[in-house]
């Protein structure tokens, strides 16, 4: 009696777990299929229809691989692009720049790549993924963020090294951490962080949940976080500039649209969106 009951229960648990796994798999498959099928159909549309002829029933899909920190701005630029190019659809893949390079190297289909640092763009260029020369389209610098109201009274970079201040930064292996390390060596102030995170998002999360007194993030992240953090700019940040390059990709199926997208990013509309998010123009 108890045995059968327990086995039915176990069976139910196993069935539920299997269901979950299958659901995840299916979701993964469909989203994967969705991307690839739309890309291939757009490729077919591009080859069959004459250039300039926008056929709404066969939309051309442009796939843009962009650094996670560009999510808000590029989504907005994507909407502008779709309005200016009727019949085209822009799909984005937002992730850490090094993840994106890994995916592209592994054969992920993309038309445009926008990196959050020159390092990863160089990796992409060396892997022969890039057609032409990458061009810098924006820059970003670090800033201090604190929980709202700045309870620990942080007023500058040197305050972060005070023993009773808990600070969180990016690990030196990732671009934001490398920038933080440069500021440290420039100023001679060495931080003892309570945690070295993998991404700016993780740093921001620790600050917005009030786990730490301060964190080092990019200005754009602070702008994006709005009033969930208090931003404390420090002059030493200006010396460590992070540059964002963009390039069209050799494996792309929409070279014309890709060039148009890059032009839009460099154009007044694109630059205005970037500036509003806290990006500075590239020199």
């Amino acid at each position: 009696m108890s045995r059968t009951r327990s086995t039915t229960r176990l069976r139910r648990v196993v069935a539920a777990l299997t269901g979950l796994c299958v659901a995840t798999l299916v979701a993964g498959c469909t989203s994967g299929d969705g991307t690839s099928s739309s890309t291939s159909s757009s490729a077919a549309a591009g080859s069959s229809s004459a250039p300039g002829a926008a056929v709404p029933s066969h939309p051309s899909t442009l796939t843009v691989f962009a650094a996670a920190s560009l999510k808000a701005t590029f989504t907005e630029i994507g909407t502008i692009f779709q309005n200016e190019n009727p019949g085209s659809t822009v799909t984005f893949n937002f992730a850490g720049s090094s993840d994106l390079v890994t995916q592209l190297t592994a054969g992920a289909p993309g038309d445009v790549f926008a990196s959050a640092d020159t390092n990863n763009m160089t990796k992409a260029t060396n892997a022969k993924l890039v057609s032409g020369t990458p061009v810098n389209f924006a820059t970003n610098i670090l800033t201090i963020v604190t929980p709202p109201g700045n309870p620990a009274g942080i007023s500058g970079f040197a305050d972060l090294a005070k023993p009773d201040v808990s600070v969180v930064v990016c690990a030196p292996q990732v671009p934001c951490g490398a920038a933080a390390a440069s500021v440290e060596s420039n100023t001679g102030v060495s931080l003892i962080p309570v945690s070295e995170e993998n991404s700016v998002t993780d740093v921001l999360g620790k600050v917005t949940t009030g786990q730490v007194d301060a964190g080092l993030v990019y200005v754009t992240d602070a702008v994006n976080a709005a009033d969930t953090v208090t931003q404390v700019d420090f002059p030493e940040a200006a010396a460590v500039v992070n540059t964002y390059p963009i390039a069209t990709l050799t494996g792309g199926t929409q070279p014309e649209l890709a060039t148009k997208f890059v032009d839009l990013v460099f154009g007044p509309e694109g630059q205005q969106v970037l500036a509003a998010a806290g990006f500075k123009p590239a020199p």
């Binding site: 327990s6 539920a16 690990a171 990732v174 309570v194 070295e196």
Partner: protein, 277 residues
Amino acid sequence: MATAATVPTRRKRAGAGTGSGLPRWVFLPAVVGGVFIVLPLIAMLARVQWSSFLGLITSESSVAALWLSLKTSTASTVLCVLLGTPMALVLARARFPGLRLARSLVLLPLVLPPVVGGIALIYTYGRQGLLGSSLEFLGLRIAFSTTAVVIAQTFVALPFLVLSLEGSLRTAGRRYEAVAATLGANPTTVLRRVTIPLVLPGLLSGAVLAFARALGEFGATLTFAGSLQGTTRTLPLEIYLQRETDPDAAVALSLVLVVVAVLIVLATRGRASEGSL
């Protein structure tokens, strides 16, 4: 007479060659499933740079991460046994309203995305969390400490032990316990001398599963405990970080984790088949 003779031979033929009594077609999806699991591991093995392997896994940061992982996983396994055994006993033996709800809640971390678990833990033990301010008052700061890693691991691993042990308890039944009680043993003696020895294999396999889950814990740790070498950066976090700059090191460390996992599975497989999971 003739029919009586043919029936057994036909039955024999149905399971012929396999000895399992299963229809043959079952084996095809079973093998596909097996390949599905094993193939990625082989692909990873093929990527290991053997010439630099030893150097990569013995680097200072790797050793620190491995050591931290073993320490914290052991601590969380002990916690899981101490907390999970009574939980499994109550779930398997006690009868009270809301038992089914209690069981569902206990199993929640099993199906919860670890990141969600991490966020929940922040709002519980974090600086501005439910218990955080009281803990801070007592001078205890959990966030960003090794304790936070152990808490995150215990949170996600506990259901594995409870589920495994509860299954064993139900399979074992209450017959021996009832006999011991009629012979005059008090409940504690019955638990100590009859119940626990009876389900020891289930307890062991549950503990090993919990250890394995704790060892692989990533999302909750990253969200709740942070990532600092020697303090909170366990092996999975180290692998994730190494991947940014040194994919070879990430692969080498992944292999270490796979080897540990395989050893764990091999160590428990015999016992686990007796138990329930």
